[in-house]
């Protein structure tokens, strides 16, 4: 509110300049958006084409008569709602499990001093450096030993134990380290223990970071078809991302149905992103920070 202290004249020209800056920003953003939106646009027009139009490739960009029925076909050809239910079961539990295991481990790495912490930190980073394909078969064999094949457990349980969460642990650690230690120290002086600090100070203050972790986990799990393909033996457990691949055949495939279904499974992620990023607007206001 420092502007109010300025002379009126200066204030006005400043306001005018701000408006011009905003206009330029809008133009830049709009232009950039175009290249970002284009692939989506292509998906949409492809989803509305007839098989004969598909054969013509890019000679026909816009379908002569949009085939909205392709969306209905795509939903009806696969057990869409069963897949949706399966996707939701896995995604919700994985997001929950990942947020839990990532935040606790991150707190240990960021705010606590324990023996071997820095070595374990390197080990955690190293787990991301081994290409996942070379541990695929042994992992599968292990699940078959403990009798998890034919269940959803291989997709869900690891998330509760930091499976694939190294990225998020590291991310949360970076955020936790940024939380002023005056807050934790004064809490300790007030007699709070680490669990209370974690729950009452760390988590509420890291809302944008937790939202980011949840968002990324959601996107990753929702769109992952390879994990479900390998680890879900029972087709009744298949997810949308996996079920959708039925439209892709050896030579070409039902591109229109595939794109229609792709758009349908993409929409929830977009809606969730739209609402999640709103938490990045308010900002978190620290109270009790000196300076």
């Amino acid at each position: 509110m420092s502007e109010l202290m300025l002379p009126k004249q200066k204030y006005r020209s400043r306001k005018k300049r701000a408006r011009i800056v905003r206009l330029i920003l809008h133009i830049v953003l709009l232009l950039c958006s175009l290249v970002f939106v284009f692939p989506f646009l292509w998906m949409l027009v492809t989803a509305l084409k007839t098989p004969a139009e598909l054969l013509r490739g890019i000679d026909v960009f816009f379908p002569a008569k949009p085939q909205w029925s392709n969306f209905i076909d795509a939903v009806q050809k696969i057990p869409f709602f069963m897949y949706l239910k399966n996707s939701l079961i896995i995604v919700v539990l994985v997001v929950f499990g990942t947020v839990m295991s990532a935040t606790t481990a991150a707190y240990a790495f960021a705010k606590l001093r324990w023996k071997g912490r820095d070595k374990w930190f390197i080990v955690m980073l190293a787990t991301m450096m081994l290409p996942i394909q070379v541990i695929l078969i042994p992992t599968y064999v292990m699940y078959s030993w403990i009798g998890w094949l034919g269940t959803r457990l291989p997709m869900i349980v690891p998330a509760f134990f930091g499976g694939g969460a190294a990225f998020y642990i590291f991310l949360m650690r970076q955020f936790f380290k940024g939380i002023p230690k005056e807050l934790t120290e004064s809490a300790i002086i007030d007699g709070a223990n680490h669990f209370q600090i974690f729950l009452k100070i760390m988590l509420p203050l890291s809302k944008p970071a937790i939202v980011t972790v949840a968002l990324f986990t959601f996107m990753g799990t929702w769109n992952d078809y390879f994990g479900p393909l390998i680890f879900l033996s029972n087709p009744d457990h298949w997810t949308l991302a996996l079920g959708l691949r039925a439209f892709q055949t050896q030579y070409g495939g039902q591109y229109n149905l595939m794109m229609a279904a792709s758009i349908l499974i993409m929409l929830p992620t977009l809606i969730i992103f739209f609402f999640a990023q709103k938490t990045f607007i308010e900002g978190i206001k620290f109270t009790g920070i000196k300076g």
Binding site: F38, L125, A126, L130, G162, I179
Partner: protein, 305 residues
């Protein structure tokens, strides 16, 4: 006095509590991760082909890769090139987008969602976009640059079909998904205490000054994060080359992870692929340990500097 004692007591307990907080992850790593990781290490000393029982051949895979395999070195070189350029560029563009989209102008939510779109659309759609932009003969970019080409009397650029430009082209294409790191920067920007800006305003600091002296330093934790993750991820670059260039032209985009994939899927040489994976791990680990030293330049609000 009593409070000081409780702090000392808590410090002693911290060791235990530290392990307690890390225990879900540690448990997962040791119980669920240990066996597969150990097995892949074992496979790297065998001629395992995913069908027959593996036979131990000790260091033969490693010897072959390091001394008698042209593609190993070629793909490693390509990958290093990619890492050196893609990582800093990715950080720069991600930051740029985050600054652009951290304003409070109307419709900012829509813009952010649009910028994030490439991270969720199907790969086929992205491929097509890149082709329409970069295809040397009919691509949009070469159409736009036509006057320039004529002015300088030069041949149109071949982009991903030119072996000297292909790696750079793929890096450019990869920037479309910078929306991912943008989200992390945006999240971090919200963590910067608003009071810092307020006191800077009182001092009459300009937007630029605020950015250099407040925003950027306080962004270093997430810049550091994206740097380390960029390193680890870039060393494993694969998908974009697989779909756009097939490793070509002239193997110029044949990356290490691509070669590893081929060893496994096309040659059925799981033993050799495992050896490649462990060599990669050692390389990335060494690079990362050096990169972690930059941590001392990272400004964490929660720590003494």
């Amino acid at each position: 006095m009593g409070k000081t004692i409780s702090i000392i007591k808590m410090r002693k307990q911290e060791n235990l509590i530290g392990y307690l907080f890390a225990s879900p992850w540690l448990f997962g790593l040791i119980v669920l991760g240990f066996f597969p990781i150990l097995m892949s290490f074992y496979f790297s000393f065998t001629n395992y082909n995913m069908v027959s029982a593996p036979k131990i051949i000790w260091f033969e895979n490693y010897r072959i890769l390091l001394t008698n395999d042209n593609l190993f070195w070629k793909s490693l070189g390509n990958t290093l090139y990619h890492v050196v350029i893609a990582v800093p560029l990715g950080i720069f563009v991600g930051l740029f987008l985050a600054f652009l989209l951290n304003s409070k102008i109307k419709g900012i939510s829509i813009y952010r969602t649009l910028f994030y779109l490439p991270n969720v659309v199907s790969v086929v759609a992205m491929t097509l976009l890149w082709m329409w932009l970069f295809q040397p003969n009919f691509g949009l970019i070469n159409q736009l640059l036509k006057p320039l080409y004529e002015l300088f009397k030069m041949e149109p650029l071949g982009w991903y079909l030119d072996q000297d430009l292909s790696k750079l082209t793929l890096i450019l294409m990869g920037l479309w998904t910078a929306g991912g790191s943008m989200v992390i920067y945006l999240a971090q920007m919200q963590d910067i205490p608003i009071t810092l800006y307020e006191s800077a305003d009182i001092d009459g600091a300009s937007w630029f000054k605020k950015m250099i002296h407040i925003t950027l330093p306080l962004m270093t934790p997430s810049i550091f994060f994206n740097f380390i993750m960029g390193l680890i991820g870039s060393f494993q670059v694969f998908t974009i080359a697989y779909i756009m260039t097939g490793g070509g032209p002239s193997r110029s985009t044949y990356y290490y992870a691509y070669y590893l994939f081929d060893k496994m899927m096309n040659d059925n040489a799981m033993g050799m692929a495992s050896a490649m994976a462990w060599i990669l791990l050692v390389i990335v680990l060494i690079v990362t340990v050096f990169a972690l030293r930059l941590n001392k330049y990272v400004f964490y609000l929660g720590e003494d500097s």
